[in-house]
């Protein structure tokens, strides 16, 4: 096969536009930036998860060297309210605290060291009160109330068909309670912001963020400033994964309040431990799943109850829960479902967006339910999935939405099964002595297993976020034939700039090298909503296509003239030329642009994308939840050391319905990275909490995968396009993560012959499961 060495258009294997600056160490991240007269901020935070503030103990803080400003809730002039959806979260605690790491006061000092030294001089007195530390207890009548309104933030439901009917028809019911752990994003660059006050009360904000428009909105709300007066510039962002969706607004608001008070620039960079304890995390969930099925392996429906541990403030937890709610059945056809998802306050870590947005937790549950059904019936887990996956004959999701691409589910399954050489061991004799630490059991010490995870993911925002689901791009053709593109979605490492450049390049038929795409500046592009939900390529791409169409039409007319009155519509763009396919004659792109400038025509265009309206009913959880869907299947091959409980994920085969590969190296990087991040979540990343205090707030004891842990990742791409996507592309950021945990849970269960129901599968947890199985097994010792 000859490599495609094209340098223009979508699908070209080009070098990312940001690669060289990053590899030379020239890219400026937030903490690399200095501004004249800049103060450094630090946070005084609560060591207690639930309590009443008796005093903040800030007296000595003001006398610490270099300290310029100390602010507590009483000193704030604007609204002390930063809840992004619900008005439940103060910028600075007033009266009571609800989580460890909650901000009590802000300090600005001459140096970073002085600012954090001053924090240690603060002696807050907080009378501890009982808290809620297990989401399963949050709704019990005796539970302490985290907020006066009670601990239930919101309930989502999904109802379809008649449960009575399937209850009577079912041959068997598979019941499981899954306890799925949270996860720290562990972006390599921590959170931070720089706020620079300008003339007339304006602000320029530099932020390491996925969502500059969220930052702007929340600063404006806190300070009362106009949106046009607050310019948010995204700095080169060192990883995000959802952790920089809403949380960056908090350091930005802190810095803004201090900057407005000091009339000086303020920088706040969170040290890693503060970041770990205080920033958002993947939600812990409890999923109670009852699957109704026939002896043939055909499922009829499910009854699901999900408890979501939101932590002390709602943040975006309800939105995450909404996706969990609509994803908990998986890509399977059902006659009836009854789902309830309750989002609860606790005094644990602050739940928030994280790659997959609630779907990975429920997918681990629904996929393990499918496995357990198969094992119960003596069937291959893949066969059971084939029996139930959506396809063109039964294309309707549990949300009632009819998927035109329903055949992609079985296709990803087939590809993953084929390329992984699927061969589970479940039907071998598994309830054996494996796990007994015995010299004679050495041969059976290591157990290999395989597991499969199939998912369907609704790309872009849920119907509940429809108002934000739009985006813009502005483009300028420069006189020399180079092009500037400004987009409203962010590069956080995933390759948004590369994808945007490829799409612009395709639209104009020019080399990617001519095109420059920059990080978001809120004063330069319209609010394009958040860069989340695997929507960046879709939103930026379609807006760019809109803009390139405008520009290409102008150039087409010019080229037609230059070529001597050939019909403009037949001209084709490509290879840096505008070509008449009939005669084969062409003008170069540069010549056409020169002519455009010669005629003083408009070289700029603003493109816009507005996804179509959809109908969705909150009462039943039925309707058009998402713009389109991407399927994925991953197969994990694991080796389990039954003596130590250590799980080695050896290989993951990832088959993805990507629509179209826009920038293949970035696409592969997303899949490889998503698989490994998911594997970390499923096997080693354990947020250890004691009364709301994170016991492992750093990389010393919160372990993420290293190069020696990462599995061999095999990628299979299915490129069948989707009409709504730019040149057919679907989203990949989250689908790359979601099936992995499910596949690993299934694979470890397969290896051991034990139906596991918890994540992460840390060595200790696996070993305990092995021991429990031995004591209950007649063959065990």
């Amino acid at each position: 096969m000859t490599k495609d060495c094209r340098k223009w258009g979508v699908g070209a294997r080009t070098v990312r536009p940001d690669a060289e600056a990053k590899v030379r160490g020239e890219a400026l991240y937030l903490a690399d930036m200095k501004v004249n007269g800049m103060l450094h901020a630090a946070l005084v935070t609560s060591p207690v998860a639930s309590g009443h503030i008796e005093s903040l103990g800030l007296d000595h803080v003001r006398e610490e060297p270099g300290v310029q400003i100390v602010l507590s809730a009483d000193d704030l002039r604007g609204a002390n309210q930063i809840g992004i959806i619900f008005d439940d979260q103060p910028l600075l605690a007033a009266g009571r605290v609800r989580m460890v790491g909650e901000r009590l006061a802000l300090i600005a000092a001459d140096s970073e060291e002085q600012a954090w030294a001053a924090v240690r001089a603060a002696k807050p007195q907080i009378a501890a009160e009982p808290g809620v530390f297990d989401v399963a207890d949050a709704l019990s009548p005796n539970a302490p109330k985290v907020h006066d309104s009670g601990n239930l933030i919101k309930e989502f439901v999904m109802h379809r068909g008649h449960m009575d009917d399937i209850e009577s028809r079912a041959d068997l019911v598979i019941e499981g309670e899954y306890r799925i752990g949270g996860q720290e994003h562990a972006y390599m660059e921590g959170q931070g912001a720089i706020v620079i006050p300008g003339p007339g009360g304006t602000l320029t904000v530099y932020s390491s963020t996925q969502c500059p428009f969220y930052v702007r909105q929340r600063i404006c709300r806190m300070t009362g400033l106009a949106e046009a007066d607050v310019r948010v510039v995204q700095t080169v962002t060192g990883g995000a994964f959802g952790g920089k969706e809403d949380y960056p607004d908090e350091p930005a608001c802190c810095a803004a309040v201090l900057a407005l008070r000091a009339h000086r620039p303020v920088r706040l960079v969170l040290p890693r431990e503060v970041d770990f304890q205080g920033s958002t995390k993947r939600h812990r969930m409890v999923v109670r799943h009852q699957l109704y099925a026939l002896n043939s392996g055909r499922i009829l429906g499910a009854k699901v109850e999900i408890l979501v541990d939101a932590g002390a403030y709602a943040g975006m937890s309800t939105v995450v829960a909404e996706r969990a709610n609509s994803s908990c059945i998986g890509p399977y056809h059902v006659d009836a479902v009854q789902v309830s998802t309750k989002v609860c306050y606790t005094n644990n870590l602050f739940g928030g967006p994280f790659r997959g947005f609630g779907a990975p937790q429920v997918s681990a549950a629904h996929e393990q339910q499918m496995n357990r059904l198969a094992w119960k019936l003596g069937l291959d887990p893949v066969a059971v999935r084939r029996t139930n996956l959506l396809n063109h004959d039964r294309p309707t999701l549990a949300t009632g939405e009819v998927l035109p691409c329903a055949d992609m589910g079985p296709k990803t399954l087939d590809e993953a099964v084929f390329h992984s050489k699927w061969q589970p061991r479940w039907n071998e004799s598994v309830k054996s002595v494996a796990g007994v630490i015995d010299p004679e059991a050495q041969g059976d010490r290591y157990r290999d297993g395989m597991g499969v995870g199939t998912i369907v993911y609704g790309c872009s925002l849920h119907h509940g976020g429809l108002l934000l689901d739009r985006g813009g791009a502005s483009m300028i053709l420069q006189a020399d034939g180079t092009v500037n593109v400004a987009i409203g979605v962010t590069e956080m490492g995933q390759g948004a700039l590369a994808a945007a450049r490829a799409i612009a390049s395709q639209g104009l038929g020019i080399s990617q090298e001519r095109i420059r795409v920059r990080e978001v500046d809120s004063a330069m592009v319209p609010d394009s909503g958040p860069t989340v939900a695997s929507r960046a390529t879709l939103i930026a791409g379609r807006a760019i296509m809109d803009a390139t169409k405008i520009l290409a039409d102008r150039l087409r007319n010019i080229a037609a003239d230059l070529l001597g009155r050939v019909p403009a519509p037949q001209l084709e763009f490509g290879n840096d030329r505008i070509t008449d396919p009939v005669s084969g004659r062409f003008v170069s792109f540069s010549e056409a642009v020169t002519a455009l400038y010669g005629r003083r025509e408009n070289p700029a265009a603003v493109g816009w994308f507005r996804p179509p309206d959809r109908e969705y009913d909150d009462e039943s959880g039925q309707g058009g939840a998402y713009i389109f869907y991407a399927f994925a299947t991953q197969v994990a091959r694991v080796r389990v050391d039954t003596w130590t409980g250590m799980v080695q994920v050896r290989q993951v085969t990832a088959a993805h319905d990507v629509g179209r590969a826009i920038h293949p190296p970035s696409l592969e990087g997303q899949i490889q990275g998503g698989v490994v991040q998911s594997m970390g979540w499923a096997t080693m990343e354990d947020l250890l909490l004691d009364q709301g205090v994170l016991q492992n707030p750093g990389f010393t004891n919160y372990h993420i995968p290293t190069a020696t842990d990462a599995p061999d990742v095999r990628i299979v791409l299915l490129e069948e396009g989707t009409p709504e996507g730019p040149y057919g592309a679907k989203g990949i950021g989250e689908p790359s993560f979601i099936p992995g945990g499910a596949a690993i849970l299934g694979a470890v269960s397969d290896a051991l012959g034990i139906e596991l129901t918890e994540l992460p599968l840390t060595p200790q947890r696996v070993r305990m499961a092995v021991e429990a199985a031995q004591t209950s097994s007649p063959e065990g010792k």
Binding site: V15, E20, K22, V23, R24, Y29, A31, V236, T237, T706
Partner: protein
């Protein structure tokens, strides 16, 4: 004579001898970033657990967040800025990282590149397992490491090509 505390440090940074009148107990990382403006060296954790602050001391990778500058008196430090001057061609390892798409958010990149430089300099041909083991101190949350490992392999190929030992297959 009573031994005196040291008050300045002489260290060669990126080939240039610097006499630094800084607190010798300051972290090398802070001296690089704050006093010398070499912000290509990143702080990821401050505890020697992530490798983002990796620099080479006398050719060996270390976490500069755990090194007090007093202890490098008389030694040579190489940071990412010194690996290739801004107007000069990239080092083969940098070139390989770029070609292989081993860079996503880029925050771990300078540290990972420097570790890889020391690997290719110190071991004539490391296999995949040796590469992974050598690079285990550079955490990356974006790439899943596949392309970083490919980049190190490619760096070996570029280097052997430069020595005239056959041409490598270039992707594009």
């Amino acid at each position: 004579m009573q031994p005196k505390p040291i008050e300045e440090v002489t260290v060669t940074i990126n080939g240039r001898k610097e006499r630094l009148a800084v607190d010798p107990a300051k972290r090398l990382l802070d001296v690089l970033r704050e006093d010398l403006g070499l912000t290509g060296t990143k702080e990821g954790c401050g505890k020697g657990e992530c490798g983002a602050c990796t620099v080479l001391i006398d050719g060996r990778p270390v976490n500069s967040c755990l090194v007090l500058v007093g202890s490098v008196d008389g030694h040579e430090v190489l940071t990412i800025e010194g690996l290739a001057q801004p107007d000069a061609a990239m080092h083969p390892v940098q070139q390989a990282f770029v070609e292989q798409g081993a860079i996503q958010c880029g925050f771990c990149t300078p540290g990972a590149v420097l570790t890889a430089v020391s690997l290719v300099d110190s071991q004539p041909a490391a296999d995949e397992e040796a590469i992974r083991r050598y690079m285990a101190g550079n955490l990356c949350r974006c790439t899943g490491y596949t392309k970083i490992v490919s980049a190190v392999k490619t760096a070996y190929e570029i280097l052997s090509e430069r020595k005239g030992a056959g041409r490598r297959k270039k992707e594009c």
